[in-house]
Symmetry: C2
Subunit: 343 residues, 2 copies
């Protein structure tokens, strides 16, 4: 049996290119004792993927050149010689960019409930690490009723969950997103109080107008100029939750004209706190997070917005879309349809 | 009676120039009920002075154009119609850049002990807001025994206190300062474990070598490229205590080629926390701080390093020295000698 995989050919310079990855078709080893073979169904495409292939000092060692690209996904167990998995199970794990993944005995794989109470894709999105990232970040930022939360990349997977969660805490939710249509959706369909189109020439003025009482919590996903302007509007004692800096990842190498952050002095002036977090450090918060996210989803106060790209071979192009902003909500690549139990 | 004063003529563009201030000789009003007249003896010259004359969004409103420049100093009460002050008292307060200061009934003025257990200048330095800034910042950074504390502008007023305080907490203290002579002093005379000369071409390599176990606490006074390299060496869970960003204050206007902070992403990657503070917010910590600082000073583990510039008219030039690094320890301008009781 063979399966396709993407190996990392070189480290991207700026936005990832197709040529940074090599599509290979490789034999899949036999399933040994304590192993399980999983057919990949969905792969999550996240800003973190870009971090993993950079030689910037990241939060874990980068994917080595020549290795299969790492990625979180959902798959269906084809054959199992692991006690905790059986054929037909739907599992969530670090499957990598491969059609068929041989899980070793130590590889973590979470079996999804059967029957599924929500669409499969939600387990990579609003009910998965994406939704939990929004939840954990807001736990860190701690918005109080009446405070203003600004979230950048608000139409993205995490941002579109941050708004409704902040509203559920009684805060004012202001998004920053690219384009009038995204902004309209966030306000009209997801309940944001306001959304600023960062493509508008006067986006700074619009952000000022949308935050008349300043900013108490900056849920930061973007970095760069957008973050700088939010920093200039911080209130005293504000909290900057550093979840991502997608505008900066492709500039961390040498040789780029680079804006950098120019308003960090406001952290000082406003006696603010900036805290970085990686969601996987906060597993203790997951049960409460899943409960709140599930409840808000069931009540229709949260939506499982997603953009699904079909075809394994589309993975590099899908990753690129994170940088062009050409998607809404959670970005996923569908590799295959489930063949076993219903999904 | 007349006295000289410096009024703010215009907001500095970059490093403050003499022409940004106007030296005037002005009549001093009669002392009214509830007022006191104070002759300025010493004025403290601090990076914060630069913030106060910038139209950058600071931590308090800037000194208005045309007004007397603000400043903290020590003076001698010449005449008092305030119940809490009497002629001859030495007082600490916001006297401003003036030779004679009329204190109103609401102006805070702390009477210094009589007799003085330490040199007068120490009450603006190691036993005053400078030493307390080092103390409060380390309380916020919370270095643990064996951890590495890096402090920039280590030969400056605050930095030279941070090192010994960090050592007293069992941490490794690494300074960054300008020039081999400053570095030598910090290591040999103030007990820093290491000091990196930021003028050396290979200062980055030297900082790496001086922090073999990474950086747990960055006591940041400088910002810019120096801060960026420290950020690149943060350990997981590190704390960045944002005390000052002197390299950035003169660039906050438009039109400067500006580096900005390019390694803020490490706050995310290392799950670090950056917190800004203004010492005056933390008066609750002052009693314990004064006690520790006084004890370490008496034990000879702390030094009251200072550079005293003579002459009221030297104030603008003295302020400029903060940016050229052409001083050691606390920078003060001596305006007059005490005439009343001994000091």
């Amino acid at each position: 049996m063979t399966g396709r995989a993407f190996r990392l050919r070189r480290r991207p310079d700026g936005v990832p290119a197709d040529e940074d990855f090599e599509l290979v078709e490789e034999p899949v080893p036999d399933v040994g004792d304590g192993e399980a073979l999983v057919r990949t169904l969905l792969l999550s495409v996240d800003p973190a993927n870009r971090i993993w292939i950079s030689d910037m000092r990241g939060y874990r060692p980068p994917v080595p050149l020549g290795e299969v690209m790492d990625g979180t996904g959902i798959g269906e167990v084809v054959e199992s010689r692991r006690d905790d998995l059986r054929a037909g199970d739907l599992v969530l794990g670090r499957l990598g960019w491969r059609e068929l993944c041989l899980l070793g005995s130590d590889d973590s794989a979470t079996v999804l409930p059967d029957p599924l109470p929500a669409p499969l894709s939600a387990y990579l999105g609003v009910l998965g690490h994406t939704g939990l990232t929004a939840y954990v970040g807001l736990e860190i930022g701690g918005p109080q009723p009446g405070e203003t939360v600004v979230v950048s990349a608000a139409a993205g997977a995490v941002g579109s969950v941050v708004g409704p969660l902040a509203k559920a805490r009684g805060a004012r939710a202001v998004g920053i997103a690219g384009g009038p249509e995204k902004c309209r959706r966030l306000v009209e369909e997801l309940g944001f109080d306001a959304c600023v189109d960062r493509h508008a020439e006067d986006w700074r003025d619009r952000l000022d107008a949308a935050t008349p009482d300043g900013v108490d919590v900056d849920f930061e996903n973007v970095g760069g100029e957008i973050m700088d302007h939010v920093l200039l509007r911080l209130n005293r004692g504000a909290r900057v939750v550093l979840c991502g800096m997608i505008s900066q990842y492709d500039q961390a190498g040498a040789g780029h004209a680079w804006h950098g952050q120019r308003a960090v002095h406001q952290i000082l002036m406003q006696r603010a706190t900036m805290r970085g977090f990686i969601v996987s450090d906060h597993a203790d918060l997951f049960p409460a997070g899943r409960e709140e996210l599930g409840r808000l989803l069931a009540e229709g106060r949260l939506r499982s917005d997603e953009t699904i790209v079909d075809g394994f071979e589309q993975l590099p192009a899908a990753l690129r879309r994170l940088f062009t902003g050409d998607h809404v909500g959670k970005l996923l690549v569908r590799v295959a349809e489930p063949t076993g139990r219903a999904a």
